[in-house]
């Protein structure tokens, strides 16, 4: 191996100053005197410098949240103001109701088999209690209508002796049903339901992106802005793992926030602007902040500082920088 080959092989170590002083000195002496190695060395230095052009990115906050949740699930606070639903499909409640319909009907017919025909005293109809969506529930047979409406499909059926000594039996099964909840967009129950839908993508189909589209159409109408919906979108922006969904959330906040400046939302937008790895999310976030600034909302010092940093960050997307600068120019003193 020639001297030139040896020198070239040691060039990476020369760059990291990993060579001992004697070898380093010898290498530099050779490079100064050898045009080919000198050219090679310049190429190495330029390449090394170019590698440094790739900026470091911030870790999305959700990674830490997920990690800490793994370490200690109690360390991560549950979402606030979420309706106390359980995570199973919302229609299971009907399964239990239908099961009890069967029980009621079975009991009724068993009790009257062979007996003189009388006018049946039907158990009372299910009372109109507040609508409850729960994983499962048990109802007494007397609380179920004697007619089975809609001929539902019954699956996963099981028969149990609930309390043999008291002659109590149970029939459990799942039933698929379709529920339509109606109400004004700003009804508290409707808002809570929408928030649940937005924040629980893994529990719904087809996707929360559709829910965000619908929320955008509905809640961007004058007078329909709602802080809970905005808070839910903020959570989606902060936590959703799908970039497309985060983009939609930020874009929707852009249309909603001027009317409803929520500190938590600003924090979510700032967090996305600072650390979301996807530039499209950062773009939507800075546009939302620009809208806030234009609307005359007061921006706190941390928000202004972040905008200032972004406006002057050389390695940031140019569009983000421009919009950050524009937002700063709209900030009220």
């Amino acid at each position: 191996m020639s001297d030139c080959d040896l020198i070239r092989e040691s060039m990476p170590m020369l760059l990291t100053e990993s060579l001992d002083s004697q070898r380093r000195e010898n290498a530099h002496l050779h490079i100064e005197q050898c045009p080919l190695c000198s050219e090679e060395w310049n190429g190495y230095k330029e390449t090394w410098q170019l590698l440094g052009e790739v900026p470091e990115v911030d870790v999305p906050a959700r990674v830490k949240e997920r990690f800490l949740a793994t370490v200690n699930p109690q360390a991560v606070a549950p979402p606030r103001n979420v309706v106390p639903f359980v995570r199973r499909p919302a229609v299971r409640w009907l399964a239990q109701a239908a099961a009890l319909v069967v029980i009621a009907s079975g009991s009724y017919f068993a009790g009257h088999r062979g007996a003189p025909v009388q006018e049946a005293k039907l158990p009372p109809i299910v009372q109109q209690t507040p609508f409850s969506i729960a994983e499962s529930r048990v109802l007494p047979a007397s609380a179920v209508s004697s007619t089975i409406e809609g001929r539902p499909d019954i699956q996963n059926i099981s028969f149990t002796d609930v309390n043999p000594s008291a002659g109590q039996i149970g029939v459990s099964f799942d039933i698929t049903s379709h529920v339509t909840v109606t109400g004004h967009p700003n009804d508290a129950s409707m808002v809570r339901l929408m928030r649940y839908v937005l924040e629980n993508e893994d529990r719904m189909s087809p996707s929360s992106a559709r829910a965000i589209d619908w929320v955008r159409t509905t809640y961007s109408q004058p007078g329909y802005s709602n802080p809970e919906i905005i808070a839910a979108l903020s959570n989606v922006l902060r936590n959703d793992t799908h970039e497309g969904v985060r983009i939609k959330a930020a874009d929707t906040l852009k249309t909603l926030t001027p009317e409803m400046s929520v500190p938590d939302t600003r924090a979510a937008l700032i967090s996305a602007l600072k650390s979301d790895p996807n530039p499209a999310v950062r773009i939507k976030a800075v546009e939302a902040l620009l809208n806030l600034a234009r609307s005359g909302a007061s921006l706190d010092a941390a928000t202004v500082e972040t905008l200032r940093q972004k406006a002057s960050q050389d390695d940031e997307n140019v569009y983000v920088r421009v919009k950050a600068a524009e937002a700063l120019s709209n900030v009220r003193p």
């Binding site: 170019l50 590698l51 790739v54 900026p55 990674v63 830490k64 370490v71 970039e243 790895p277 390695d315």
Partner: protein, 192 residues
Amino acid sequence: MKSLSDQELMRIVQAGDFSPASEIYDRYSTRIYNFSYRFLRNSEAAEDATQEVFVKMLKHASQFHGDAKLSTWLFSIAANWCRDYLRKADNKAKEAEDVLISLPTPVELAPDRNLERRQDEERVRKALMVLTPEQREAILLSRYQGLSYAEIAQISGCSEGAVKTRVFRAMETLKKALTMDASGGTRCLTAI
């Protein structure tokens, strides 16, 4: 917690108390995430890698010996995760899947220098993906993490000589891909 050394924090973890988890995460997550992101060029996978590294750190805390640097151990776990990720055939197609959105550049606020810098970034990212995973691992740990060849050897499970060769070959490839085009004087990617 902030005043404690890595070794002291790990001794607490080894005793079954995970309260230093957050502090250790804060110290190293950015480095681990960026290493994984540059290695895989996939932000979603980099997030998974980062989380997994710290979960494994807690699960296997007993395997950490105080004579080694915590960073070296964490990078070993991260490198293993990334290698496994790439080994899975279905993940290969996901490499380089992060697509950056290009927007029209406002002329008045787009100095040539910035434009060129951004182009350079993109060239470097692409050039890094041309390297073999072993070469990429070595160059990332050397260039961006400033680790010695001995530390890289420990992380990669190979000899220092092998690291030296990997870095050299990686630099050769990158130099060809990134340096000036002699004929036109403009930057070009010859190997991509």
